[in-house]
Symmetry: C2
Subunit: 379 residues, 2 copies
Amino acid sequence: MPTLPPADIGAPVSEIDTPALIVDLDALTRNLDKMAALARKLGVRLRPHAKTHKSSVIAARQIALGAVGVCCQKVSEAEALVGDGIGDVLVTNEIVGARKIARLAHLARQARIGVCIDQVESIALLADAAQGAGSQIDVLIEVDVGARRCGVAPGAAASKLAAQIARSPNLRFAGLQAYHGAAQHFRSPDERSAAIEAAKAGVVETIRHLTAAGFACETVTGAGTGTFQIEGRSGVWNEVQPGSYVFMDRDYAKNTPDDTHGAAAFDHALFVMATVMSMTTSDQAVVDAGHKALSNDSGFPAVWQRPDISYHRPSDEHGVLTFVDGAQRLAWGEKVLLIPGHCDPTVNLYDWYVGVCGLGRPSAHVEALWPVTGRGAVI
Amino acid sequence: MPTLPPADIGAPVSEIDTPALIVDLDALTRNLDKMAALARKLGVRLRPHAKTHKSSVIAARQIALGAVGVCCQKVSEAEALVGDGIGDVLVTNEIVGARKIARLAHLARQARIGVCIDQVESIALLADAAQGAGSQIDVLIEVDVGARRCGVAPGAAASKLAAQIARSPNLRFAGLQAYHGAAQHFRSPDERSAAIEAAKAGVVETIRHLTAAGFACETVTGAGTGTFQIEGRSGVWNEVQPGSYVFMDRDYAKNTPDDTHGAAAFDHALFVMATVMSMTTSDQAVVDAGHKALSNDSGFPAVWQRPDISYHRPSDEHGVLTFVDGAQRLAWGEKVLLIPGHCDPTVNLYDWYVGVCGLGRPSAHVEALWPVTGRGAVI
């Protein structure tokens, strides 16, 4: 059962129960508009990654602003999005396991579905499932362009896979997935540029082999919030997959921006609201947001508009705030907004988005309650 | 909406879709029985902490074996448990915020409910809410016995709070919450003993002040899986709250056991099943379990029965397994069982427990699918 929502629509922000996942709807709108305009300017298709927001409401807004569809990582995420009417979903991941492949194949009767492979054995399993379901699946070959995770090495390997896909009923070779995840978080623009230049060389070499073997690469897709402008200008990628731009997080904010890469030009739009629930000494305040309210894998949260307060020592249900010398103390019962270290897995902890208008102003109020459609979708 | 269950009852273990939260039902039964026997032998009340399992099925089994009730940390967890028929729940935490206090007060009409306080202002808020709901709430004063988180300092402070509780309608002063969370994970038995001895001194001093002020301490409750035998033998605590013993995790397994503390005498009963989803180089295997499938706050998981394999570099949906020299490689599509670093927040990531009988034997099969009743209960 989903939990009860932590607020009522129309209520002042002060009445939101905590911990709660807050979306600044004004900042979200700015971020969505800015990315739509950037993708148009770059002249590439925008396919935002829904693994960040896991929300069919936000996916629909992205598509209404010109996105061709969305990405996700899991079959069950795709099911949640398609179930709410999203018509074009690319699973940017390898799907291994009979049950989930069958689910994906059936989903492809309801929406345009793409999926990645990096192993020849996958192809027959996908084809059999698609035949069984009577559906058609777009298949992209994932190329490892530097993240050292999934994907075949750049070069000749993709051609053999493309040939096998082309021979397979109910599958269509749709192109290459070339995403350099690690590069998104390289701090300096030069490091990010160098990483994507190297990735580009690998993609170009792979396309050369595919072309020689007679396979056209309709789609070359990849890129995230940290690098999408580099891929977008490369002349090689024709589709970009930024996800985190909708919310931004503390880790992305550590990237040094430059005029072209622009990750830091998006606004923080996602917060965890927490309450000071214990303050029995003057040197610390305990808030009701720990591991179950924040994913701390990429560092601890920042306290919004309070650089003089730091978050420490999370346990499951608690976090400890400490103060720099002279900082004004929080009051017992006071609420704070935390900027998560990493948005995607933090969103996964909640059933509800609390959409707020006018955040930071006296008129701030709850405008919307959105379910986190893909929450817990691990399959 | 909860996600679909990852398996069918009766199916062989090989057909479970991944990532999935697996309970070894045989090991769980052994752990439940062992703790029930230990508490009887110690002569203290057992009130297991449900924050580990978040499951009303397991809570009911604990109570059937003699537990007086369960603990939890959140109002919404208590609601989930009471909604499934658990009749006695102690919230071992401070509850701050009007909405959740009102919910707690209404819940106290349906079950015996206790809650902790460490701030005088809490008392009137709880009393008003209980009066409004027409309920009675047991109130325990939390004493900070070394965890440096919530709780008043040992000594005189509790007496003033007890007096205020005693004056308040619809509240009953029920005793002390004295839990040393940090001590649970001290590695050596001597460190754990020393920490609980110091905690005991603080509790004894607090009780002396309360007694002098005319307040009887009906319940002194606390202790976890790492130390409960020390508190249980202390003559001061009359109730213990171990939680992790039901499952154990990799972090607890690092505690050095001794004859009396016995944390390591419980068996691992909780696993995350994962699949090798990519293996494009021979030096690593990528599994489909990352931050969304495992809480890595207390360290990465171990691979069950494969000490020659290590888990590294988790991202949201992936983990990387590496092999010691000469280790037999896993096959693409092969499933592995991971022992989570930290059970409680890992359980929180799943909608379903997959209960397995005969784990490790050819006959192993899915025996039960249990909802994670308190999943996502952050309020």
